[in-house]
């Protein structure tokens, strides 16, 4: 029992992974004999792989090989429907960065205002309450109609979905700054701007960053769906396109890559949150 919990959990993780990969491998090895006969219409739809003995579902080795291939050549560009996964990811990340960046620029100052002024808070509350639960994709037609540019529409959708958690958290963080810290600033005759940056911002920073972390997670969820809708470029479009090509291997590879990027984004913000958190 003197093995540390870290070692034990790593061993367990590795075990789960191996069991999963083995099960996957066995399940897709391709002996359809004995299975129910496939509807010929559906078989036609699924293409040749379905009618040969091998399962249409790729196994872990296929996906591994595909992943390796993508990683070796992530940035090739053979026309609109055949770009490297790196380029597609780059587009998605750039859109998320743009939409999320705009959301930060709006949500944090506005959240400050809401948090500091009960009047503004009350006045804006009904709008926030109504708009916040709207699925960001519901904005897509409106965005396409008014902006008339699919790329910019995707950015707008990212903006609108990232704005709420940041706005609400910033307002809450600012409104709940401890009275005694504000009183310290008052007795030291600290001006409003200096007070905002030296007392309110550091005090509310952990709450604000929690909101930013929630937002980046949502933005990364939404970008895939948004790009499936608007098409053209991006990892969401890649997934959709590979589905149309019936390349399940590519779809699974993309799922893995999307998960990895999402994790990295989350960890970046988690680290930033840790940097501004203060023990009391």
């Amino acid at each position: 029992m003197n093995v540390s919990i870290g070692v034990r959990s790593s061993v367990l993780s590795a075990l789960i992974l191996v069991v999963f990969l083995l099960a996957w491998h066995i399940a897709t090895r391709g002996t359809t004999a004995g299975g129910p006969p496939m509807d010929p219409e559906y078989a036609k739809l699924m293409g040749i792989t379905a009618t040969t003995g091998k399962s249409a579902m790729p196994g872990p080795l296929d996906v591994g090989a595909k992943l390796f291939e993508h990683l070796r050549k992530p940035f090739y560009d053979n026309g609109p429907n055949d770009k490297g996964i790196g380029i597609q990811l780059g587009w998605s990340i750039a859109r998320v960065a743009a939409g999320y960046g705009l959301a930060v620029l709006l949500a944090i100052p506005l959240g400050f205002l809401i948090g500091m002024s009960p009047t503004i808070s009350r006045a804006l509350d009904p709008f926030i309450q109504i708009l916040k639960p709207v699925s960001p994709l519901a904005w897509m037609p409106l965005a396409l109609y008014t902006i008339k540019d699919s790329g910019a529409s995707a950015i707008f959708v990212i903006f609108i979905c990232s704005v709420w958690p940041m706005l609400v958290n910033t307002a809450f963080g600012v409104a709940s700054v401890r009275k005694e810290w504000l009183n310290v600033a008052r007795t030291l005759e600290v001006g409003p701007w200096r007070r905002a940056f030296t007392v309110i911002l550091p005090a509310a920073a952990p709450t604000i960053l929690t909101g930013m972390r929630i937002s980046i997670g949502i933005a990364w969820l939404v970008i895939v769906a948004a790009e499936m809708l608007v098409g053209g470029t991006g990892i969401g479009y890649f997934v959709w396109n590979e589905w149309n090509n019936l390349s399940i291997t590519n779809v699974i590879t993309a799922i893995l890559v999307i998960g990895l990027v999402g994790m990295v984004l989350d960890q970046l913000l988690a680290r930033a949150a840790r940097a501004v958190t203060f023990p009391e």
Binding site: E180, R186, T187, L188, T198, P202, F278, P279, E280
Partner: protein
């Protein structure tokens, strides 16, 4: 002017009551504090001491009346009046040095960073915290945090130091050594101090004058008591002074009974504008013998406990 360096002039503080009316914490309160004096306010919990201090600090505004400092009406918080808060109120994301430097740079906006730091370090050393400059409040003990609060307040070199039960959350030993330091520093600089306390012995040791507040609501200043002990008193042998027990008994008697009953029998000649000044008398030699006997007894009791 110096006799009323701080002057509460007929102030009242009312809050809207739940039943729609108003509840009055105190009203028509008059009090003067001379320059350079150390004043302690004692009174029961909830009588309005913090409210009084916050009004003087400018953090709260009186519903009626004005407060003058140095002849001028106060209109809000000021760097001339430093506050040592009950809950230390350090900014937890700043180090000890950062907390004190924040106050220094507020006082002297044009000072260079190096000068600010130098100035802050001087006051950190004054409260005996050299070596802990780069620690954060979470890494400090309660007593050390309160020292930082004291250093921060002193570092802006205020005209008046306001303290709201600064030592009440500390253990007896730490409290004693901090009292010694505050007294030393305030005597050296002739600081005017307005302090709230629950602790009668703390008031006897520190205060030149003790203000007695009756119970709320509608609290009043019953009287101010001049401390008859010599200014060079030591904390450890307070009880050896013949005037110690008369003073202590007077204060305890007030807290135990008179703070409650005083209002029912307000002396006919009581003028709220000029609360009576009391000077507990040093007992005659016969009484002194009795007093010192009690002193010995309570000393013995203390040793047993």
């Amino acid at each position: 002017m110096n006799e009323r360096f701080i002057s509460f002039e007929g102030i009242a503080r009312r809050y809207p009551a739940p039943d729609g009316g108003t509840s009055t914490i105190f009203e028509n309160l008059w009090l003067g504090v001379p320059k350079g004096e150390f004043v302690c306010v004692i009174g029961h919990s909830g009588c309005g001491k913090t409210t009084l201090l916050n009004i003087l600090a400018g953090l709260d505004a009186p519903s009626e009346g004005v407060v003058l400092v140095d002849g001028r009406e106060i209109g809000g918080p000021s760097l001339d009046r430093a506050v040592i808060f009950q809950g230390h109120a350090l900014l937890p994301w700043r180090t000890v040095l950062g907390n004190v430097a924040y106050a220094v740079s507020s006082r002297h906006p044009r000072m260079s960073k190096a000068e600010v730091e130098e100035h802050a370090r001087r006051f950190i050393a004054l409260v005996g915290l050299q070596g802990s400059e780069h620690k954060r409040p979470a890494e400090l003990s309660g007593g050390m945090k309160q020292r930082v609060g004291i250093a921060r307040a002193l570092s802006i070199e205020p005209k008046i130091l306001l303290m709201d039960e600064p030592f009440s959350a500390l253990d007896a030993l730490t409290r004693g050594s901090l009292q010694d330091e505050v007294r030393r520093i305030c005597r050296e600089t002739g600081q005017t101090v307005f302090m709230i306390t629950h602790d009668v012995d703390e008031a006897i040791y520190l205060a030149d004058r003790v203000v007695l507040m009756t119970n709320g609501p509608g609290a009043m200043v019953a009287e101010t008591v001049v401390n008859p002990l010599p200014v060079d008193r030591e904390r450890t042998d307070l009880h050896k002074h013949p005037a110690y027990y008369p003073l202590r008994n007077h204060l305890i008697d007030f807290l135990v009974t008179r703070s409650r009953t005083w209002r029912d029998a307000i002396p006919a000649d009581h003028d709220p504008r000029r609360p009576p000044v009391v000077r507990p008398s040093i007992p005659a030699p016969a009484a002194a013998a009795a007093a010192s006997e009690t002193a010995v007894q309570s000393e013995m009791l203390r040793n047993i406990a």
